[in-house]
Symmetry: C2
Subunit: 512 residues, 2 copies
């Protein structure tokens, strides 16, 4: 696959590569281990009423599974089935949901990048699915596979990105039927963190599992989880055959699925935070239960993409108060069911990396952190309601996520033991700049972001008066220049490229 030759730092042979690897190590933060308390909006009674509402929805209205195999599975499990409508009794539903694991370990090809989610453990992942990029010159254009590779390289280098991501952007220069092969390869080749799989057809999911098996071995993939994929629910209350096909492939292979009702509150749900959550809860639980019919114990992540809708344009919004309330409600429910759960983080409707992008992304993500999500998608780069991936915002967001990580970890309570001694090292009216305690603790005590500018106006002006957008683009350029490809066994690399060649040929013939 010639297109990848120029994209990695592979020229110079094995020795040169070995040397480069040892020259520079990439910082990596483990999954966030939440030290903040949870913030439950509902009393235990109110939570049970909300749960009961979801149960009644599934028992009385039911939910559609638009797929014959899925219908057959539900029928034999004892659900009440009429055509594609499945009505699920709460006992059956909750018995199935109880089979889903509370914690999921997602293995990376570099074992030191393997992560576990669930309970108080949280991971962050880049934005997903945008057809456009805001490029290194700040120009909006169609995304390409070269952009995709670039974002994989940036995700690899971002300390608080725990996965490389999935559809980092849509490589519009590669035909859809073979696009997933190139995305999978790039995610595997240019980073060594866990990745996300293709979900747009059964065959593409199967290709993804096959490529994972080349990297990890057949048996390992069958018995462990090495990737996470998204299955969107067509809210209200429909799981369609495309998504269910992917779910069947992944669940059978023990690969994790994000069961994601797609909430445009007021359009695909009622105009009420509590009713919207009651509905999405029914949808997510039905999806998770279905995965257990395919393979009991299949790793399933409760989750949602969630926006309120502008009355003016019908467009999704980010960071609004109601989104935050809904995320908190979902978190409380997921904890009640002992399921790991997913949210979207640094979301914005802005077309630019401007103040709106900053306000909305920070508000949205802060809400997600408080709500306690275990899997945060769209943690970097997201603009324009996911239609654009931005190089600049990727870098700015990546640094923000380092701060959210530290925020979520909570206090270092052992500081209490040293408090008085620390204060005794100065005098009223003096300062602490040179004290022994300060010299020992400053660096670890307070995080100093690089891309936020704290200089005086004069210093900043003298240095070029760069806004945050410009600094973000500069940082992306620098990171791409400094990138060094992580090692991958050459036999595996050859086998992956070989697989892609064969599949492209077969797909090409099928398309003709």
């Amino acid at each position: 696959m010639r297109i990848y030759n120029s994209m990695s730092a592979r020229s110079g042979g094995r020795d040169a590569r070995q040397k480069m690897r040892s020259d520079r190590s990439v910082t990596f933060m483990p999954p966030m281990d939440r030290g903040l308390p949870y913030m439950d909006l509902l009393s235990a009674d109110e939570l049970l009423r909300l749960h009961d509402n979801s149960m009644q929805v599934l028992e009385e209205i039911g939910i559609e599974f638009r797929d014959d195999e899925a219908i057959a599975l539900w029928r034999s499990a004892g659900a009440h089935v009429t055509d594609q409508r499945v009505r699920i009794g709460r006992n059956l539903l909750m018995d199935l949901v109880a089979k889903a694991p509370e914690y999921i370990t997602i293995h990376a090809r570099n074992p030191s990048r393997t992560v576990t989610i669930g309970g108080r453990k949280t991971i962050f992942t880049p934005a997903y699915g945008s057809p456009n990029v805001l490029d290194l010159e700040g120009k909006r254009r169609n995304a390409t596979v070269a952009d995709f590779v670039n974002f994989a390289k940036l995700a690899y280098q971002a300390p608080a990105m725990h996965m490389t991501g999935g559809v980092l952007c849509e490589p519009m220069d590669i035909a859809v039927p073979k696009r997933h092969l190139h995305m999978n390869y790039s995610l595997i080749r240019y980073s060594d963190k866990p990745f996300m799989g293709a979900v747009t057809s059964r065959e593409r999911a199967e290709d993804t599992v096959a490529m994972a098996k080349i990297v990890f071995g057949d048996e390992f993939v069958h018995n462990n989880t090495v990737m996470v994929s998204i299955a969107n629910c067509n809210s209200p209350l429909v799981w369609d055959s495309t998504m269910l096909d992917a779910v069947k492939v992944y669940a059978a292979s023990n690969q994790a699925i994000l069961f994601t009702p797609f909430v445009l509150a007021g359009a695909s749900t009622p105009a009420s935070t509590l009713a919207a959550v009651a509905q999405l809860n029914a949808e997510a639980l039905a999806g998770i239960a279905f995965a257990q019919l395919v393979r009991p114990g299949a790793p399933a992540i409760y989750g949602q993409w969630l926006a309120t809708v502008s009355m003016k344009s019908g467009a999704p919004m980010a960071g609004t108060p109601e989104i935050c309330h809904m995320n908190m409600l979902v978190g409380q429910l997921a904890r009640h069911y002992k399921l790991p759960w997913r949210c979207s983080g640094m979301c914005t409707s802005s077309k630019l990396v401007d103040a709106q992008a900053g306000y909305e992304a920070a508000r949205n993500m802060y809400g997600v952190l408080i709500a306690g999500a275990n899997f945060v998608l769209s943690s970097t780069g997201y603009l324009e309601a996911a239609l654009t991936q931005s190089y600049s915002k990727f870098m700015l967001d990546a640094e923000q996520m380092v701060m959210f990580h530290k925020l979520g970890q909570g206090l270092v309570k052992s500081e209490l033991d040293e408090t008085l001694d620390a204060i005794r090292q100065s005098e009223p009216g003096s300062h602490y700049l040179g004290t022994e305690h300060t010299l020992k603790n400053f660096e670890k005590a307070f995080f100093v972001p690089d891309l936020m500018n704290h200089d005086s106006y004069e210093q900043w002006n003298f240095a070029g008066a760069k806004d945050a957008d410009t600094r973000g683009r500069d940082a992306a350029e620098r990171a791409l220049r400094e990138y060094q490809v992580p090692p991958l066994d050459e036999a595996i690399d050859e086998e992956l490229l070989d697989f892609m060649k064969r599949r492209e040929l077969a797909i090409g013939e099928a398309v003709l």
Copy 2:
């Protein structure tokens, strides 16, 4: 005072003014009534240890009151005094602190703008003290009294600003000795919300009380609270005579004071979140206790201005994880002492209204909301660590604060009663756009911000591709154009102007 003639919409005589008033009413949101739970970082035992650390600081190291009258008051109250160093036993301290009220009602000259803080009630107030503005053309320059009047007009119109503010910016075109007179007048004249008083000397505080008495009457001011003023502590552990002079004037008049340790964590406190909070707790409590020596029951607000410091430049930062942790700790302490407490909100180090400004302001304010502050200063316009007040950011922030208000109010739990009926109004695979429940509830269910743009890229581009900064400036221009001065009794207005004239004359003579 001729300079104010062109600044208010007073031309056209009484009839024209009456008409304008009735044409347009300004929306006003009452104090936020917190519906979110609190997030306590410390266990009850850990909180007592932190409290105990603060008590030990005051008992062992003590705190300086650099003012003879203050020293005399402490001596006669039974504190251990050596020169200016006051060591205060915990029983004395806590007896005094217990005299400070749990709730404070701040009266406005328009009674419908009167607010109460404390417990779950929170108010928002604009930024304070910047010598520069980023003006309507986006240019940074010295602030003037015309800017000050403009910001008073914007604060008056902002629905979620509960006070007009204090030093909205420094009117650099008016000499310092008489500047406070013009600020007080503008705050009273161009808005009818509560305001903040001058604190830079005893005389200026006395002038402020005198002007309030013209508006409210002597006895009312003596027995009620009509303003709030800031007293900064010179951390570590010094209350200086300028601030104490103002405190004595205001406390004697029953006017509220924000006792504000000025925390540059790592410089004016130890490099430890818990030690920094232990110190600021000692400082704030000592200030509040002192106010009770002046007048038992004097309204006192526990609070701080709080930043971590960049190692690179020594400059203060905003929105960092540690700032949020410290605010949460302070909130938990203030609730323990049953004191209303203060924080700063939309803070940023950015020189521009760019993505940094958005990220930092939103992160900082979200932390303040979660922490549960009752009085949020710097809710609008703040740039460059308070050195610049921005027209554009004032408008953007003001809208963000409406969203924070709604976020903090929490859920409308009665929605639980209608949840099932709402979901029954649609079908799987359909939508909710036209349902009876949606039509009835959409507008009140979801907030739609005006200044955040949710249009498609094409719509946005067609409409001029304006970034958030430009939209904010446009909004400020529009608001100033549409501003209508709230009614003020003409006799009071004349008396205020008369007072200013007399005081200016006296000050002028004193200066010569």
